[in-house]
Symmetry: C2
Subunit: 404 residues, 2 copies
């Protein structure tokens, strides 16, 4: 089988390397040789092994009938979307690592692949090398997924782990992460939770069998967390993680991204640095966790390569993926109940006690002359009402393992 | 699709329940309704919903052309093997949770399924509901698996966790586990490591693409461990786990089952109680861990159900599984190097120092008037030679994360 790669960046060059160096093993698994015929990139790579296959013209790929499968590792919506739609309509299977594209256009591209009896696969779009898309599609098919709860953004997990270990503040750790290349110059997509929201929308679409719009996922980032929050967390025996979740309650679907206080009883507690961990709860299978490096050139490339091999093994056959074009409604988070860890100024102590008098509260040993407490089992809307009446320094929700 | 179940024990009745209660979801995922037409068991189940479908005669299933797929949850080699071979030769796909059968006859049964263009699937044979067989088959296909290292026996993990937490001795914890139903009356297969050896042989066969014979897996059990071993472990910042492993070094394959001292840096450290955790290292993908409940009625049944749905989705097509009838040689463990934690009587201290003088040793703070030390980077054969010359109370190998 002849393939092409769109984009010779980190992941794209990794895919080129995997197909160039793992030849025998791939031939054995795919049942045939797979060769990269063309690589599209606007740049030149003099002296690089890719040179002989490099093209600057998308038509060299789209119009080549010999190329049966195209890997897309450009990232972003455009021109990826326009390219892939044309390729699929032409009957070429596509494998992508582009979560933005899958979150935005997955429904439509899956539908074209279905009609053309080819495949649109995207294992590498969530969790890098961690197998999560295919297990959700296949391994849980006899089950019903009722809860997904994951650490699926490596940049924020690196920052939070550093803040926890070093007692450092957000801005300092971010600057260090940027210097080391673990965070982007413009970190907004990561630190505000948008990247995690796109990924959980992809996982939720597979779990629900319908389109979950990432814009419906209520998202809070990590930018307001301080060293003091981590000190409180430590005293509670918890750590703070950015948690992306999807949860079915009585047939209703909730989905959020936000920092949460994680207890030591869950395996998510030990997911540190740039690692990802995704906990999936099925009605029958109970908690199953997938853990590993959520990014990186060769790990992600190997996940893309596995998709390409599935394409080779499924010629003329669309691998069924239950993700219809029906829209999955996401419930308003305001109805959801949570335990909130809350910090207010000492001068607001009595006011806070009055305002939160309707719920059970546990006072915590204060730091820095503050008043800190946990408000139990409170609806989000009630919290928001109460929060208007008192000056809140910060609040973080608790992950309640028993509820999950 | 009409299916049958062989054996109405814990797992079999779970499979019956899953197909009886998760009807809509399964129909959506499989693309058609799946009904259990017959259940084979020698016993009667008066009043049980299975009653109307129950048969005592295997012919009612084997000779029914309407039954396309058979679930086997009887366990053991016979009559499972004879039944399944006939069913496959008749063109019926088979899904099994029976690790003994897969370890003994997997190669032959897979070959029949290939020839008949049907499927022989066994996701539930290792790790209960944890997806591990299919990820090894599909998700790592672009990679090369170089190392599998897992806690894959729930009974022994429960016993070891209890010994660690309570400072209790092996015999007491085993008795308690038996009383609670976590260990069998005859626990030998679990505590001597034979169950784990069968499971790692299955995983290694998939990783190597050739038949790994479980009888070639060098196996040590947990019966010699004492409370004092756990006390030493704690002081080293480690825990003791029964580790089943497969490792490729320079094209040679090693596979063993034995208790090991696990450092806190690996995610296996937190796999406790009856949970399973399997760490897979690929050449490209690096460490990926699969974690969850490794047993239990409905978790295991849901894994079997997922296999049945794959059968429905792949009518007339054999899902390629790279596990040939070529025999995979397993290297003699004697050539492998390990770090050994060793305890000898105080009176043997000087003798031990002399005997182990060829390797680097670290002395540990002694307990109970013993002499305890770690002998570093020692070939198994050299250890065995040295061990003959001095009275060893106990020895446990260290899991070296850096080496892996």
């Amino acid at each position: 089988m002849k393939i092409a790669i769109l984009g010779y960046g980190t992941i794209g060059s990794g895919v080129f390397e995997v197909f160039g160096t793992n030849v025998d093993n791939i031939k054995k698994r795919a049942g045939e040789e797979i060769t990269v015929k063309r690589v599209l990139d606007l740049r030149e790579f003099p002296g690089d092994p890719v040179e002989a296959r490099l093209t600057h013209d998308f038509r060299d790929i789209a119009d080549d009938p010999e190329i049966e499968c195209v890997v897309e590792t450009m990232g972003g919506n455009e021109p990826a979307y326009t390219f892939l739609k044309e390729l699929l309509l032409k009957g070429k299977s596509v494998c992508t690592s582009n979560k933005e594209l899958v979150a935005n256009h997955g429904t439509e591209l899956l539908e074209i692949a279905r009609q053309k009896k080819i495949n649109f696969l995207f294992e590498a779009s969530v969790g890098g090398a961690i197998p999560i898309i295919r297990p959700l599609m296949e391994s849980f098919s006899g089950d019903e997924i009722i809860d997904i709860c994951g650490i699926i953004n490596g940049t924020t997990n690196y920052i939070l782990t550093k803040m926890d270990r070093d007692g450092a503040d957000y801005a300092d750790v971010l600057a260090e992460a940027q210097a080391k290349g673990f965070a982007e110059r413009n970190p907004e997509a990561d630190v505000e939770g948008h990247d995690a929201a796109r990924k959980i929308a992809i996982l939720a679409s597979l779990a629900c069998g319908a389109e979950v719009d990432f814009r419906d996922v209520y998202t809070e980032g990590i930018t307001k967390l301080t060293a003091l929050d981590f000190e409180y967390a430590r005293r509670m025996g918890r750590v703070i993680k950015l948690i992306a979740s999807m949860r079915k309650i009585d047939g209703k679907v909730f989905s959020t991204v936000r920092p949460m206080l994680i207890p030591a009883e869950t395996p998510l507690y030990t997911v540190n640095d740039v690692f990802n961990g995704i906990l999936v709860n099925g009605r029958f299978s109970k908690s199953i966790m997938f853990y590993g490096s959520g990014a990186g050139k060769l790990p992600t490339a190997s996940a893309v390569a596995a998709d390409v091999i599935e394409v080779a093994k499924n010629r003329g056959r669309n691998i069924p993926i239950v993700w219809s074009n029906k829209k999955q409604p996401i419930e308003d988070r305001m109805e959801q109940k949570n335990d909130f860890f809350i910090r207010v100024k000492h001068s607001d102590k009595h006011k806070a006690k009055e305002v939160f008098s309707g719920v059970h509260i546990d006072e915590l040993k204060p730091e820095n002359g503050e008043f800190a407490f946990i408000a139990r089992n409170m609806a989000e809307k009630d919290y928001e009402e109460a929060a208007k009446k008192v000056d809140i320094i910060n609040k973080i929700r608790l992950l309640n393992v028993a509820q999950r």
